[in-house]
Symmetry: C2
Subunit: 114 residues, 2 copies
DNA sequence: TGCTGACATCACATCACACTGATGCGTTGT
DNA sequence: ACAACGCATCAGTGTGATGTGATGTCAGCA
């Protein structure tokens, strides 16, 4: 590590979008998110649906909770989970800006006059 | 459980969507993708823009190429890169199905009668 | 009051991924 | 023909993330 050396912001993208994509990248987490987008569920339901172990589900739910994309509502012995309102809106916006189903992007600059 | 134990498809999501999210999850790759969504570029441009090393950029471009989301067009000494048409459309569809900015999802089943 | 069930937390092992340096290849220019 | 350049590939390394088992906590019930 250099002593000063700020981590270097690479491109004008809200960094939260990248971390939201990371949340969606794991297949088990994506299954959890999709299930929660259809109905509120508690942990044991997700264990049944996905076939993963309770500890694994709980770990992923903690990540999703800390990222603010799911909300936990303890109710007696159970804990109901649901998607937070506006969850992944940032990722959707960033992805929409990229997909751009128009014609090919132009070549704005000459080849490598660094 | 069946004795043969097939790898167990977890949820009816095209698995390609998950891997597309994985491509978007890395901040450097996201920077490359966003840059290519605005204009076609060759490797050296991406080295300039991102500040990463040429080898690193080349590695990421290979991943993006193999995933079919960017197209390479060699032209003499240079290689122009651009986003493939319809790249990340699968991810956009999957994400759109999840975001659902309506009211909260319902509780369709009782708590944990596994 | 003691047991069971739902869920969270912790420590650990494993594994995949990203970065790097060295090297090779094809093209351009002199 | 040789050098410089753009770019790809390869092998090595370190780090972070994921799954797992053990354990702890709290609520409900007999």
């Amino acid at each position: 590590m250099s002593p000063v050396a700020v981590p270097l912001p690479r491109v004008p993208t809200p960094p939260v979008a990248g971390s939201q994509f990371a949340l969606l990248a794991d297949p088990l987490r994506l299954a959890i998110i999709e299930a929660l987008s259809r109905e509120q569920l508690c942990t044991c339901h997700l264990v049944d649906i996905t076939g993963a172990r309770q500890t694994t589900i709980s770990n992923h739910l903690r990540l999703l909770r800390e990222a603010g994309v799911v909300l936990a509502e303890p109710e007696g012995r159970y804990t109901w989970y649901r998607l937070a309102p506006g969850a992944f809106a940032e990722a959707l916006r960033a992805l929409g800006a990229v997909v751009a189903d128009g014609p090919d992007a132009p070549r704005l600059r000459p080849a490598c006059v660094s």
